[in-house]
Amino acid sequence: MATALEFDKITKRYGRVVAVEDLTFDVPAGQILGFVGSNGAGKTTTMRIALGVLAADAGEVRWNNRAIDLDTRRQIGYMPEERGLYPRMHVADQLVYLARLHGMSTAAAKRSVDIWTERLGVAERRDDDVQKLSLGNQQRVQLAAALVYDPAILVLDEPFSGLDPVAVDVMSGVLREKADQGVPVVFSSHQLDLVQRLCDRVGIVQRGRMVANGTVDELRSSGPEVLVVEAPDARPGWAAGIPGVTVRGQSGIRTHLELAPGVDDQSVLRAALATGPVHEFGRRRPSLTDLFRHIVSSDPAGANGTSVSHPTPPFDDATTAVAASQGV
């Protein structure tokens, strides 16, 4: 891999708790990787290790085949999970200061701060203390702080949380533009629809391990396909008796079915037609959200089980498990 941000067998333990174990993935230059996982899966720990805020117990983060050092880190645009800015410092002063610390000249820093505050919509707040800004605007300033020194790598921990839809669009545009300039971008998010739309690649972390990693298409085609049938006159449970078919859920007059390998979907269609008219009959690839729920719910104790028949919530998040067991 020529130019890529590589995470190679990263391991981090807190006492006897393993936060990240043998985590390996890479972000090629010019691509956006969405970093997805439950709360506490190890995303933030991984990012903090890349930034040198934490020291890994084992493994190494490389950029251009070289272990990352302070000089490389200076070129990483970083947005920490816990937002961090001086509350009693002017927005512009603060951004100029950060840009200067990353090696920019004062003139270049000021120019860049003007451009980014303009673009992120906080230009008129340049001379206000950060603490006077609304949370959403503070978030925009935080993003500006990761972008002003024109980083060669972007590592963003939940950059979209707390942004309004317009800001999400602008931010998406910025990330795509950065990637097009050849910057590897990695960001974590719980907004899976957004990740699916925006990212070239997705990495799903579970209990400190990478359980799925690939392009969005690869991941979606790897999951079980769902058959959606809209038969308005059908009684509940009409499909229960068909061999090889599992009912994954019912939403209104639509029934979501999962077919065992080798089962002919035409037999399902015939059974549906037997109940009356069929208005919709189609195969649907799982969304990233489906996939994520599938992975989370099928991993009760960190084992790589694939069964979804008896999902046990990995944490105390019962709603996730219920939703997952019902399909979409």
């Binding site: 200076r74 970083y78 816990e82 961090g84 800015l85 610390l101 090696g103 024109d150």
Partner: protein, 415 residues
């Protein structure tokens, strides 16, 4: 947010030149300096300190002015000669007595009654007899005692056939030959003691305030999480050094302003009449000890500050460090004014922990032998690099651990 795509700059990868350690420390220090000097708290504290010093100088002037009171004594024609002798006698006991002639006994008594005269010498001039309103002023009492003794002595000399004037001259020229085996320790003037106490207060308050500013600054970065952003580009020791340097310069500015204005006010009001060289050396040493003391204490304050994540916890975490400052100061102001040459204090003041608070007091009060000063300075020069290393390590390991208070043993190991 504008939806138009403003072209954003993109320089080549690695185009940003690495900032040198000096540049980084300079940037951090500059931010501290600008933020603090802009802050209202700094300005108010400085102005109040100066005002307090001005008030002290004026009060000192008023108090010292009233202590050397002038006594006015009336003399009748019969006691005019005695009046002259009283003035001379009063001088020997450091009293100033003025005489005011009155035409007769009755007029004088009326003047005493009305308070225009402190006393009236009455009688035939051969014995000392004084009329006062209620009581004899204690200062005048001693002058009168000397006068009465003199009058009795003169009468005896005359009756023995001698000349009182010759005897008086002989007594006046008599001297005790003193041959000291060791040079006597310089006795501090009361002004120098006051100067020493003020120097002590000033350095104690400055070290305490600047030190706490460092701890609060470290916690501010930690509680606002900005430290995570900074440490991605700045080494921990550079961040700590810049902060200590910046806040140190702020403190130094403050000490300089307060010290100079204090001495200026002292000289202007006349409450300070020590040689200018003593005042200058006091200020220079004050600044020097502030720099040394701040370097040492600020590093310790930065390290203990890094252990906590909330401003509410700053007070408890800095207490152990603060104790050493307080002990040095309290021992200094309570022991040194009464016994400036205490060997106990001389020893303590050479220990790096206490030198920054005690040495400026000793220097202002009595001066300090060069060898003691050298030991104290050498101690500081050894201790400061040690603290850089020790505090740097604690700071580095503790500053990224947010949440609960970090134990010192945990801070010893990397995060």
């Amino acid at each position: 947010m504008t939806t138009s795509t403003t072209p954003t700059p993109r320089v080549d990868f690695g185009a940003l030149p690495p900032a040198s350690a000096r540049q980084v420390i300079g940037l951090v220090a500059k931010r501290e300096l600008q933020t603090r000097l802009k802050s209202k708290a700094f300005r108010i504290a400085t102005v109040i300190s100066v005002l307090i010093l001005v008030a002290l100088a004026i009060i000192a002037k008023l108090v010292s002015g009233s202590s050397s009171s002038v006594v006015t004594v009336g003399v009748t024609p019969a006691t005019t000669a005695l009046g002259q002798q009283l003035v001379a006698a009063a001088k020997t006991v450091d009293q100033t007595v003025h005489t005011q002639p009155v035409p007769d006994d009755a007029t004088g008594r009326a003047e005493v009654r009305s308070g225009n005269l402190d006393g009236l010498l009455v009688g035939d001039g051969n014995s000392v007899s004084v009329v006062v309103k209620t009581d004899v002023d204690s200062d005048m009492q001693s002058a009168l005692q000397v006068l009465a003794g003199e009058v009795a002595l003169n009468q005896q000399i005359t009756s023995l056939g001698g000349n009182p004037a010759t005897v008086g001259a002989a007594i006046a020229s008599a001297k005790v030959a003193v041959d000291p085996l060791e040079p006597p320790p310089a006795k501090p003037q009361s002004q120098q003691i006051a100067l020493g106490i003020i120097a002590g207060i000033l350095i104690y308050i400055s070290l305490m305030m600047s030190g706490q500013l460092v701890a609060q600054g470290v916690v501010e970065e930690k509680s606002s999480r900005v430290v995570e952003l900074l440490l991605a580009t700045v080494r921990p020791w550079q961040l700590m050094a810049g902060k200590v340097l910046g806040i140190g310069l702020v403190g130094l500015t403050q000490v300089l302003i307060i010290g100079l204005s204090g001495v200026a006010v002292g000289f202007a009001t006349g409450s300070l009449s020590i040689p200018a060289s003593v005042a200058a050396s006091t200020i220079v040493w004050l600044l020097a000890w502030f720099v040394l003391g701040f370097s040492a204490y600020a590093l310790a304050f930065a390290a203990v500050g890094a252990l906590v994540s909330r401003q509410e916890d700053v007070a408890s975490t800095v207490t152990p460090v603060l104790m050493f400052l307080v002990i040095g100061y309290v021992l200094g102001v309570s022991i040194l004014p009464s016994s400036p040459h205490s060997p106990f204090m001389a020893v303590l003041s050479m220990i790096p922990l206490f030198a920054p608070t005690m040495m400026p007091m000793r220097i202002a009060m009595t001066g300090v032998p060069a060898w003691q000063l050298a030991i104290a300075l050498a101690g500081m020069i050894v201790v400061i690099p040690l603290l850089v290393w020790l505090s740097g390590r604690i700071y580095r390991n503790a500053v990224v651990r947010s949440g609960a208070r970090v134990r010192l043993s945990d801070a010893w190991r990397p995060a």
